[in-house]
C-alpha cells in the first residue's frame, strides 16, 4: 500500500513550495521531493527591455537577496558591453557586497536556521526563532544583532541608494563614489562587524560545540551527503564572493574543474522532473544519475559549506583560523555534513567583515574614477557572484542596441535543489519506519532544508510572515488518513 505524505507550507500563496514524501508498500520512504513555486515568464518579461534595466529588474525577482542579483547583473553588463570596471568601483561594489553577505548571514544565523542549535533541535518549534535565541543568550545579544545588521544595511543604503533594491550598479562601474566621511563610518562599522562575527562564533562554540548531543546531530549520518562542491575562488583558490573562477571539487576534495563564468554552460546542465517546476542542475561531464550522491553522481552543492569545501581557505586571517578550526573538529576536508552549513556561514560572516574593513581602509575607494563608459557593441554577457545561498549566474543575449533577446538565470537555490531533495529524503527515512511517522518529522525535515537557507522568492512578504507546516498522510486511495499541523 503506497502512501503519500505531504509537508505543505500553508501560505497566502496557493501552490507554494512543499515537501512530498512517498512511502512504499511497507510504509518506508521510497522518495521525497522538495518543490518550489513557479514564477512564470521572467525570460519573456526581460525580452525587449534594455539590458541596462536588468540590474534594477532582476533584484525584484526576490526580496531576500536583491543585492546579489543587482551585483551579478551589473557584472553581466560589464561583460555584455565589454567594459573594464575602474579599480575603485570594483572595490566599492565588493565593499557593498561584503556588507550584504554579512547582514544576510547574520539574519540566517540568528533568525532562521541558527535557532535550531542555539535554542536546540529538540526545543519546541515556537521557541526556535530570534525570540528563543534572546531568551537563551540574553537581551543584549538580541540588541547587538539588530544594531549591527542595521549598520551593515546602512552601508548598502549609502552605496546602493536603497537597501532593498540597490540601484548603483552600471555597466562599467557604479553611479556614486565614497566620501571621506562615508569611509570613516564604514571603517568603524567594519571593526564592529568583525567583533560581532567573533562573538557569534564564540556563541556557536559555547552553545553548540560544547554540547555533545548537538555535535552528534551535526556529524550524524542522517544529515550527510558526499557530493561535489562549487564556489568562486580568487587566484590563490581562496573564497571570494564577488569575483574569480568557479571551482568544483569532488567528494574527496580534489579539484574537478575550474572555469570562468563565460563557460558555465560547458560545465552545468539542468535536469527536469515532471513533478517539479524547479530544475536540477548537475555537472555535465558526469551526467545526471538520479537523486544519489557520490563521485559518480553529477549532483553538486553550493552555498557556505560548499564554498569552503571548494576553496583552499579564506583570504583574511581570522576567518582562516575559524576555517581551520571547523575542519579540524569536523574531521577534515571536505565536510559533507549538511548542518555544518550553519557553521560555515559564521566563518563566512567573519570573512565578509574582515574583507569589508580591508576595502574600507583602502584609500583607492576614494578615487573619483568610478566608471568607464561603454563604447563597444553588445551581444552576449555572462556574470557570476556568490550569493548567500550559493553561486548565481546571469546570462543575457542582446541585439546590437543592447535590447534583451534572451535572459537565463541560474539562481543559488536551484543549484542546491537536487541536494535539498536528497537531504529531505534522508531525514524522512530516519523518521518514518514501517508506516510509523515520528512526531519529530517536521522538525527534522525542516532542519534538513533550512540549513541550505533555500530562497522561495515569493515568500518574501507573506503577511503573517511565517510558513506553518502541515503533513498530510494519504492512503493508497489518496485519502488523507492523518494530518499533523505544527502551530
Amino acid at each position: 500500500m503506497a502512501r503519500k505524505i505531504t509537508v505543505d507550507p500553508i501560505t497566502r500563496l496557493e501552490g507554494h513550495g512543499k515537501i512530498e514524501i512517498f512511502l512504499d508498500d511497507k510504509g518506508n520512504v521510497s522518495n521525497a521531493y522538495f518543490q518550489v513555486p513557479e514564477l512564470r515568464g521572467f525570460e519573456k518579461f526581460s525580452e525587449g527591455r534594455r539590458a541596462e534595466e536588468m540590474p534594477r529588474i532582476t533584484p525584484k525577482i526576490c526580496g531576500v537577496c536583491p543585492t546579489a542579483h543587482h551585483t551579478c547583473s551589473a557584472k553581466t553588463l560589464d561583460d555584455l558591453f565589454k567594459v573594464e570596471v575602474p579599480p575603485a568601483a570594483k572595490k566599492i561594489r565588493e565593499l557593498m557586497y561584503s556588507a550584504f553577505m554579512f547582514e544576510d548571514h547574520a539574519l540566517h544565523f540568528y533568525f532562521l536556521g541558527g535557532p535550531d542549535f542555539v535554542v536546540g533541535p529538540d526545543a519546541p518549534s515556537g521557541m526556535r526563532n530570534i525570540l528563543g535565541v534572546i531568551q537563551k543568550v540574553g537581551l543584549d545579544a538580541g540588541k547587538k544583532v539588530i544594531n549591527i545588521r542595521k549598520r551593515a544595511r546602512d552601508i548598502i543604503t549609502k552605496l546602493g541608494g536603497r537597501v532593498i533594491h540597490p540601484v548603483c550598479g552600471l555597466p562599467g562601474g557604479i553611479s556614486k563614489g565614497v566620501t571621506k566621511e562615508d569611509r570613516e563610518e564604514f571603517i568603524e562599522t567594519g571593526k564592529d562587524m568583525i567583533e560581532f562575527s567573533k562573538f557569534s562564533l564564540k556563541l556557536f562554540d559555547d552553545i553548540v560545540l560544547a554540547n555533545k548531543k548537538y555535535v552528534d546531530v551535526i556529524t550524524g549520518d542522517i544529515y550527510k551527503h558526499k557530493t561535489y562542491y562549487m564556489g568562486l575562488v580568487d587566484g590563490d583558490n581562496k573564497v571570494n564572493f564577488y569575483d574569480g573562477m568557479v571551482r568544483v571539487v569532488n567528494p574527496k576534495g580534489e579539484e574537478f574543474c575550474k572555469f570562468k563564468s563565460r563557460d558555465y554552460l560547458k560545465h552545468i546542465e539542468e535536469h527536469v522532473e515532471e513533478w517539479s517546476y524547479i530544475k536540477f542542475p548537475y555537472l555535465k561531464k558526469i551526467g545526471w544519475k538520479g537523486f544519489i550522491d557520490g563521485v559518480d553522481s553529477g549532483i553538486y552543492r553550493v552555498a557556505p559549506l560548499a564554498r569552503l569545501n571548494a576553496s583552499d581557505g579564506m583570504a583574511t586571517p581570522d576567518a582562516q583560523k575559524a576555517y581551520e578550526k571547523m575542519y579540524e573538529i569536523l574531521g577534515g576536508k571536505p565536510a559533507h555534513n549538511t548542518l555544518a552549513y550553519h557553521w560555515a556561514r559564521l566563518v563566512e560572516m567573519l570573512y565578509a567583515s574582515e574583507r569589508l574593513l580591508e576595502l574600507a581602509e583602502d584609500e583607492e575607494i576614494l578615487d573619483k574614477k568610478i566608471r568607464n563608459i561603454p563604447t563597444e557593441i553588445p551581444d552576449e554577457g555572462i556574470g557570476v557572484v556568490e550569493a548567500p545561498r550559493g553561486t548565481l549566474f546571469h546570462h543575457y543575449k542582446t541585439d546590437e542596441r543592447g535590447v534583451i533577446l534572451k535572459a537565463n538565470l541560474i539562481v543559488a537555490t536551484v543549484n542546491n535543489s537536487a541536494a535539498i531533495s536528497m537531504s529531505v529524503k534522508k531525514a524522512a527515512e530516519g523518521l518514518i519506519k514501517n508506516g510509523k511517522v515520528s512526531d519529530g518529522l517536521l522538525n527534522m525535515v525542516e532542519m534538513a532544508f533550512r540549513a541550505y537557507d533555500p530562497c522561495l522568492a515569493c515568500a518574501t512578504h507573506f503577511l503573517p510572515g511565517q510558513t506553518p507546516l502541515k503533513v498530510n498522510i494519504y492512503n493508497s486511495n489518496k485519502v488523507i488518513v492523518k494530518t499533523i499541523i505544527r502551530d
Partner: protein, 161 residues
Amino acid sequence: MIDDKKAEVLILGLGNPILSDDSVGLRVVDTLKEIINTKNNVDFYKVATSGIEILDIISGYKHLILIDVIKTGKDKIGTLTKHKISDFNNSIHLTNPHQLNLPSVIELANKTGIPVPEVIDIFTIEVEDIYTFSLECLPELKNKIPEIAKEILNKSGVLET
C-alpha cells in the same frame, strides 16, 4: 529605511511591482498618496519584503497602515479585508525558512526597546495571479483601486488624524 520620518502615520505597501497582481498593494499606496498628498502627517512607502526587514521602516511611527495582497481563493477578486495584528497571533512563534511573522517582529522590537507603532491596521486585497512576471495586474483590480483606496481611508480613520 525612511530617512525623513516626520509624520505620525505610515502607509506601507507590500508587494512585488513586476509580479502581476502582487503589485496591487503598491498601486493602492500610489492612489492614496494622490488622495491625501496635502496632508503632512502621513508618510508613504512601498517595499517588497517583510518580517524583520520592515522593522527599520515602521519604527518611529505611531500608526501603521499596512497594505498587501492575499490569495485565499475564497473571496471575490478585489475584496478588501481589514485585520488586526492579533489576527496573526496564532502563528506568533512559528519559525520558517525565511522570516519572522509580524507579531513576532513587534514583540522583538518591544523587548529590545525599538519604538513601533501603537496602532497597526492590516489590509489585504484578494487577488488572482501572483506568479507571472508582468507589470500589469488584472484590469478588474486596476479599475477597483480608487474604491479600495477610499475604503482603506474610511476603515483606518487616517483622514481624521
